[in-house]
Each structure stands twice: as structure tokens, then as C-alpha cells.
Amino acid sequence: MKRRQYFFLLTAALLILSLVASAGAHMPGAREVPEVELTPILIYDGDTLLEISIDDLAAYHGVRVGKGASKCVCLCCAFRAAEAAITELWGEEIPRREDIKIVTSLPTSGSMHAFQYITGTGPDMDTATRGEFSIVLPDGRDVANLSNKNIKTMSKDNSLENFVFTIHRRSTGESILISMSDGIFPDDYFDLRKKVNFNIPEPPDDEELDRFKSEWEDVRDAFLILPAWELFEGIEAPFPVGGAIFFVLLVTGSIILVVWMKRD
């Protein structure tokens, strides 16, 4: 009886430890997520104004995959892409949830749960209204089975081509297509991902494991830190008013200095 109790306690402790360890991210041993304040996504769900933060998405994703809250690369990318697209399409207006339609080419659980949460189309969501969400692969195939298991299988061959999102404003028919800027993902990122996550074409060696972990952390941090127009094609950078003022002051100051020196 005692041995069984010890065994039960040990198993429970291991389970709790594994949950704690995976709370930060699904990449084991990944460094801490940088502390940044990202603008939440504001949407109306019926008459209720929702402030959707990246933490809300991470919590929902954690519940859906059963591993605790996690800010993985795809979830961070999905949040930033949705936030940027909503700002471009709605401007100062706050969209209604049912007015948002998101079509993604990226079959990963992180991005799927993020977009499902934003559109209110995810399982077990307490929502009054629903937008639309679907996954259409780059070759045109529609992914109907959105179970975690199937999405993981579909994600095996993910590449930069999959990081394409189309966000629609259903009421006006406007849409915006967002793809990745060059240089966000290292060249060997997707090959390493395939090796590390799926052992294809062969299991990774220690050096490859370390390299992928480091690249994964850098890409995740880039999605949290960089401005949207540096991350995504299709997002216009705002006109640098501060830079223009400083440049004008600089030129004016230089002219005054030259004139003044010539005067003497």
C-alpha cells in the first residue's frame, strides 16, 4: 500500500513539474518571454467590448493543448498579424466579432487557437457572436478537420509559404493579405523544425537541437518586439512625423550656422 502511495505521489509530482515546465512555451527549456506591452485587440461581442490580449490567447491555447499557457512562435505571429490587420481595415473603429473573417494558410495549433479565439469560433468558447475562420493551404486545399492531432500532422511540411493570412471585413468586402517580411525566419528554420519536431529526414543531433531552440526563441521574440510593418509585408509603416521634425530642425540649424559663420 505504501509503495503504491509513493508511486502515486511521484507520478503526480512529475506531472505537475512537466506542466510547470511547459507553462512558458512548448519549446522545452526556452528562455523567458521578453516583457513587452502589446496593444490588445478590441472587438465587440454583441454589446460587450472585449480586450483580447496575447495572454488571453496563450491561456486559451494552453487549455486546448492541455499544456498550460504558452506563447509559441505561431501564436505570437497570429496575434500580431490579426492586430495589425484589424488596425489597417477598421482604423479607429472597433470591429464586431461577426464582421471578422480570417483565412490562414498556416496549419499550427498556436495560430489556429489564436484566430479561433479572436473570431469566437473555437471550441468551448463563451461567445455571443461568431466571425469566420478557416485554414486553406497554399495549394488550395481546405483543412476541415481542425483537431490538434490532424493540425500537427498537417504542419509537418510548413514553410514560409504557410505564413500567409487574409483578414476580411465582411460588412464592406475589404480584405488585407499579410505575409512575412524577409529575414524574420532564418533560412534553415523550417528544415530544422522538421527534424526536431518530426525526425524528418532523420533525428536532429545536439548541435541542431541547440540551433533550433535558439532560432525559435529569436523568432518568437521578434514577433513580440518588432513593429508590425517590419514583421509583415502588406502593413504600411506610419509616416515618421518625429523624424521629419528633427530633420527639418537639423537642416534649418545647419543653414543658420553656415550663414552666421559666413557673416563674420
Binding site: 524577409d182 529575414g183 509603416a237 515618421p240 518625429g242 523624424g243 521629419a244 528633427f246 530633420f247 537639423l250
Partner: protein, 151 residues
């Protein structure tokens, strides 16, 4: 009497400027020691060894020159210390602005030869290093250069 009041104003002005400059220099050094740059709104305190470490030391000494010269700024010795403090600031500002200019013209590593207008102006956008904010206040020292030149 009026001259004495002017002197008091000058002393207060350069004492405050000296303290602020010294503070910025100290902040540069502390931030560099911590390893990361620190951004507070439109102010960015650099954290690299060259600009934050050596640059911080120069700004710190500029502050010391101001503080040392402010007491007898009406005399040539005090005025020369104040001018030296300002020259140190101008050296730092000139290198910062030169870096901005050279960075603003090309289109980046994988980009075109020349930057876009938004990219060009974006290089001059905030945040700025502390010395940029000190520049307009340091220009008062020009008054002393001319005052002594034509005395």
C-alpha cells in the same frame, strides 16, 4: 548691480546644465554596466561599450566642466571650462548625427541602393540619446566664445 544679477543667472543656468549633463553621463555608464539600452519615451540611453561606456564618460566630464566653470563663468577661466563642456557635448552630438545621416541614405542590407522617403526620415525619428537634448542648452556657450573673442 545688474551685472551681478546676470552673473547669478549664468551661475544657476550652468549649475543646472552641469548637474543634468553629469546625471546623463552617469546614467549612460550605469545603463552600459547593466548591459542593455534603456528607452524612456523619446529618450534612449545607449547600452553598448563604445557609445554608452566611452560616450558616457565624455558626457560625465562635460557635466564636471560645467559644474567646475559655473562659479566664475564671468572670468576667462570659468568661461573656458564651460566652453570645453559644450565642445564635448558637440563632439558627441556630431558623431550621433553623422551616424544618423550615414544610416539614413542607403536602403539597408538587402534593400535598394537608396532608402525610401519614409525610411530616410524614420532614421531621424525618436528615441534620441541624451546629448541630443543637451545640444540646444549647450549652444549658450557660443556667447562666451564671441564675448572673449571681441573683448
Amino acid at each position: 548691480m545688474a551685472e551681478k544679477n546676470d552673473n547669478n543667472l549664468e551661475i544657476i543656468y550652468f549649475a543646472i546644465l552641469g548637474l543634468v549633463t553629469f546625471g546623463f553621463g552617469l546614467a549612460d555608464l550605469l545603463v552600459t554596466a547593466s548591459g542593455d539600452a534603456l528607452t524612456l519615451g523619446i529618450l534612449e540611453i545607449p547600452g553598448d561599450m563604445f557609445r554608452g561606456g566611452w560616450g558616457g564618460l565624455i558626457v560625465l566630464f562635460a557635466g564636471l566642466f560645467y559644474l567646475s566653470g559655473c562659479k566664475n563663468v564671468a572670468e576667462v577661466h570659468g568661461a573656458s571650462k564651460v566652453v570645453t563642456g559644450s565642445i564635448l557635448i558637440w563632439i558627441m552630438v556630431a558623431t550621433d548625427i553623422f551616424a544618423m545621416i550615414t544610416e539614413s541614405i542607403p536602403g539597408g542590407e538587402d534593400g535598394p541602393w537608396f532608402n525610401s522617403l519614409a525610411g530616410f526620415l524614420g532614421t531621424y525619428a525618436p528615441p534620441y540619446a541624451p546629448v541630443i537634448f543637451l545640444l540646444p542648452f549647450s549652444l549658450v556657450a557660443i556667447h562666451y566664445i564671441y564675448k572673449k573673442r571681441f573683448a
